[in-house]
């Protein structure tokens, strides 16, 4: 039989401590978790050498890759390394005009006359090719935008394929989408998409538009054109009729040219509220339809009866997913005051386990900030929070020397009057605030000019239903966050825009209902 001293030796790691019921007790001030390198992960980069990126990319108009009218190109940068990846054509108003003409021709001669079941076949074909090339597209998306491969591989690309499959299914069933109504396509849709989910936003825009019989002129963001141009090659491979989808790369003026083109029937824009307002003004009186999906400052509400450990995961998913470059990010955390210390404590531990670095490493949780101006904006806003008296919490971590990086961050001691509680940061920065009663939670959650999304965490089902009906937000998640599905409409209230994308409601944005 073993002696008592042997038994104690077995728990040798715990130094001088009191014993309780035979257990060593760690004094209160030493109770902390150590997330160090006793056992660390080795680098696990996704293979990228096999994907050759051409040094120059042209415009995709009328089913062909064409040089821009101006002959000018601009550099596309990998935000994780600041290395130049390729050159992208700079489209101008003349290129837009050619693209719109190609789209109009395709609309009148081919696409609007084609039966829905035939259009659907193209969407299915595109979806299947995307699935086949998923790994390549995920790698390119990570290199081009700084997103961790874990997210592009497991979230972006599966959703991209799902959107084409889903809308392929609608193409021949549109008469059932709005029973009793006569449904007609709109014509040429001009679409402008942001840099946070380059391919996914393209899928959200293109799939419903072409499923309903419209043709498309789409402009990606200046910093993330690469994957949309790769998608254009997939359109070629799928033998999508020429001119049904046209890609005009470029800068802000290129987008303006699309919006102002007289032969465009519909504008769909995802991006900042500031630009969205300008575009809305441009289309006034033109008869063009417009849908806008703009900024957000979502409240993520944690009640004291929430499943706390899972709520912490929801907070993480809400704000650090895609480096916080998410318009529906849960960037305002509203915690019931009674559990505030516990939540902050757990959150502090949790962000220490997030892995920041090479977006192509399969273990990376937080990749690079998409572009330099955005990094500067994040820094400026966080500084304003600190200047206004908030407490900054960041993990101990080393950021790569080159590239654009910002650590996962949260600010406590924030009130509704802080800038960080009001303005969209669009980065991995969470503003933590408190509330006392459910009524106050709703009031504070709605106290923003935005209204895109919100989250509610409680184990009480009745409370969920009561709260979600009072929240003025287009999407409300209960006991989860940042979940997307093509069947579910997405869109905002107030300064977060209007119109819905996805689901039956999303089809309405691309149809004339008689």
């Amino acid at each position: 039989m073993k002696t008592k001293s042997t038994a104690l030796k077995f728990v040798r790691r715990v130094s001088p401590a009191k014993l309780q019921n035979g257990h060593p007790v760690v004094p209160l001030r030493e109770r902390r978790l150590v997330f160090g390198d006793r056992w660390d992960y080795a680098p696990a980069p996704e293979e990228s050498k096999n994907y050759v990126i051409p040094p120059r990319h042209e415009l995709f108009i009328g089913g062909k890759f064409l040089k821009p009218h101006s002959g000018k190109h601009f550099d596309s940068i990998n935000p994780a390394t600041e290395d130049k990846i390729t050159e992208i054509a700079l489209g101008d108003a003349e290129d837009v005009n050619i693209a719109v003409k190609a789209a109009r021709r395709a609309y009148e001669k081919v696409w609007s006359k084609m039966p829905g079941r035939e259009r659907g076949k193209y969407l299915y074909r595109i979806a299947r090719i995307i699935q086949e090339k998923m790994r390549e597209l995920a790698v390119l998306e990570s290199m081009d935008g700084g997103k961790p491969i874990k997210e592009t591989r497991d979230v972006d690309l599966p959703l991209v394929a799902a959107h084409f499959f889903y809308h392929g299914g609608w193409a021949d069933k549109l008469n059932y989408a709005f029973p009793g109504r006569n449904l007609q396509p709109l014509g040429v849709a001009g679409q402008i998409i942001p840099w946070n989910f380059p391919l996914l936003m393209a899928a959200w825009k293109i799939a419903p538009a072409i499923a309903c019989g419209n043709t498309v002129v789409i402009k990606p963001s200046k910093t993330t054109s690469l994957t949309l141009l790769r998608l254009a090659q997939i359109f070629q491979e799928a033998e999508l009729p020429e001119g049904v989808v046209n890609v005009v790369t470029g800068v802000g003026e290129t987008g303006t040219a699309i919006v102002q083109h007289p032969d465009v029937n519909k504008i769909a824009f995802t991006g900042s509220t500031e630009v969205g307002k300008q575009l809305a003004q441009m289309v006034v009186g033109t008869g063009k339809r417009i849908t806008l999906e703009l900024g957000g400052k979502a409240a993520n509400i944690i009640f004291e009866d929430a499943p706390i450990d899972q709520a912490i995961e929801g907070i993480i998913a809400g704000i650090y997913f895609n480096m916080g470059h998410v318009c529906c990010a849960g960037s305002r955390l509203l915690v019931q005051e009674s559990i505030f210390p516990k939540v902050v404590h757990k959150l502090r531990d949790r962000i220490q386990t997030l892995r920041i670095g090479n977006p192509l490493d399969k273990n990376t949780d937080i990749g690079a900030i998409n572009n330099k101006p955005q990094l500067e904006k994040i820094r400026e806003l966080v500084q304003s929070g600190v200047d206004e008296g908030a407490e900054l919490v960041q993990p101990r971590c080393t950021l790569p020397e080159r590239g654009y990086w910002y650590p996962p961050t949260f600010l406590t001691g924030v009130t509704a009057s802080h800038r960080v509680a009001q303005e969209e940061i669009f980065g991995p920065v969470l503003a933590v605030m408190t509330f006392r009663t459910p009524e106050e939670a709703v009031e504070r959650a709605n106290n923003t000019p935005y209204g895109l999304s919100a989250g509610v965490w409680t184990d009480k089902g009745s409370k969920i239903f009561k709260i979600v009906n009072k929240l003025r937000a287009g999407v409300v998640w209960a006991n989860t966050f940042n979940k997307f599905d093509p069947t579910s409409p997405f869109g905002g209230y107030k300064e977060s825009g209007f119109g819905r994308e996805g689901g039956v409601q999303g089809l309405a944005a691309y149809c004339r209902l008689g």
Partner: protein, 319 residues
């Protein structure tokens, strides 16, 4: 030592004893099934390669409770197990010894004999009418005392699921506390048999009760009920351990058992411990694997990582 008196008064144990004080029970956190399973899946997405894989697998071996729990167990079989635990693989691979052998009470004296008095490999015995627990408490305690007297360093008890599921948490608590007392110097692992508790909320509550009643380790399963250990169930228990540590300063160990059959699964568990409780729990003192067939799959992967090629199963001795 005057402190224990004060600590006894604080002991949350009393909360489970009477209905009246139960009103003041601090709320046991609830568990959301969807999100806990999502988090559990995230651990399995970690990519563990090269040096990390080798180091991780060696840690896994050092945490292993090599187990045989069969009616047909004999001293001969236990001898195989003990020798395997002491030296799992060819010394050239630098594989550490296993943490313990886990056996039935009748086999304890043989294991003690084969391992010797001062072995690094510990002797763990299941007890308390394993696996059902459906015997009188007196019988169960007697079994524990005998196993300890025969040389067991650790006792793996089963909770009284009958008491727990019929709502008598106090009875379950008292049985664990009594078993802890009967263990004396031996460490107590409390098996919740999560496959019979079914819901994560039950697992969380049972974990709290077991820890408050004096468990050194909480353990998922007997291995006799399916499902045995799963990643989400283990995560719920690790989260309970984490909260208990911050509340009391006591580090409770965790032992998933049953169903962990290959090296890759074992590394997923290790990832989960690393990212939930941190470095302090990455030790056989606080984390164990209960398994019988896992060891050779882990050794096969270690040999592959070192030598660069796979060997057939006959190149690894059977436990």
């Amino acid at each position: 030592m005057k402190a224990p008196v004060h600590l006894e008064a604080e002991r949350p144990a009393a909360l489970f004893r009477t209905p009246h004080s139960a009103l003041r029970t601090p709320a046991i956190p609830t568990v959301d099934q969807v999100m806990v399973e999502e988090r559990a899946t995230a651990f399995t997405k970690r990519s563990i390669k090269t040096s990390a894989k080798l180091a991780g697998l060696k840690i896994v071996v050092s945490m292993m409770d090599l187990t045989t729990l069969e009616g047909k167990d004999t001293p001969g079989k236990v001898a195989y197990l003990c020798r395997k635990a002491l030296q799992p693989a060819d010394p050239k691979y630098g594989v550490p010894h296993c943490a313990a052998v886990c056996i039935y009470p009748n086999m304890v004296k043989y294991a003690r004999k084969f391992l010797g008095e001062n072995s690094h490999v510990r002797v763990a015995s299941v007890a308390t009418a394993f696996p059902s627990g459906q015997y009188p408490l007196r019988t169960k305690l007697d079994e524990v005392r005998r196993a300890v007297a025969d040389g067991a360093d650790e006792i793996d008890m089963v909770i009284n699921r009958c008491a727990f599921l019929s709502g008598d948490s106090a009875k379950m608590f008292d049985e664990i506390a009594a078993t802890k007392e009967a263990c004396g110097p031996a460490h107590l692992k409390v098996i919740l048999e999560t496959g019979e508790l079914v819901t994560y909320d039950n697992v969380r509550l049972a974990s709290e009760i077991a820890m408050q009643a004096g468990a050194n380790f909480i353990k998922t399963s007997t291995g006799k009920v399916s499902p045995a250990a799963t990643i989400p169930v283990t995560l719920v228990m690790l989260e309970a351990i984490r909260d208990y540590f911050f509340d009391t300063g006591i580090r409770i160990g965790m032992k998933p058992a049953g169903g962990i059959r290959n090296a890759k699964q074992a590394l997923h568990y290790l990832v989960m411990v690393k990212e939930t409780l941190g470095d302090d729990w990455l030790t056989p003192d606080l984390f164990r694997f209960g398994a019988s067939t896992l060891v050779n799959d882990v050794l096969m992967q270690i040999a592959k990582t070192v030598d660069g090629n796979y060997q057939g199963p006959d190149y690894f001795s059977l436990p």
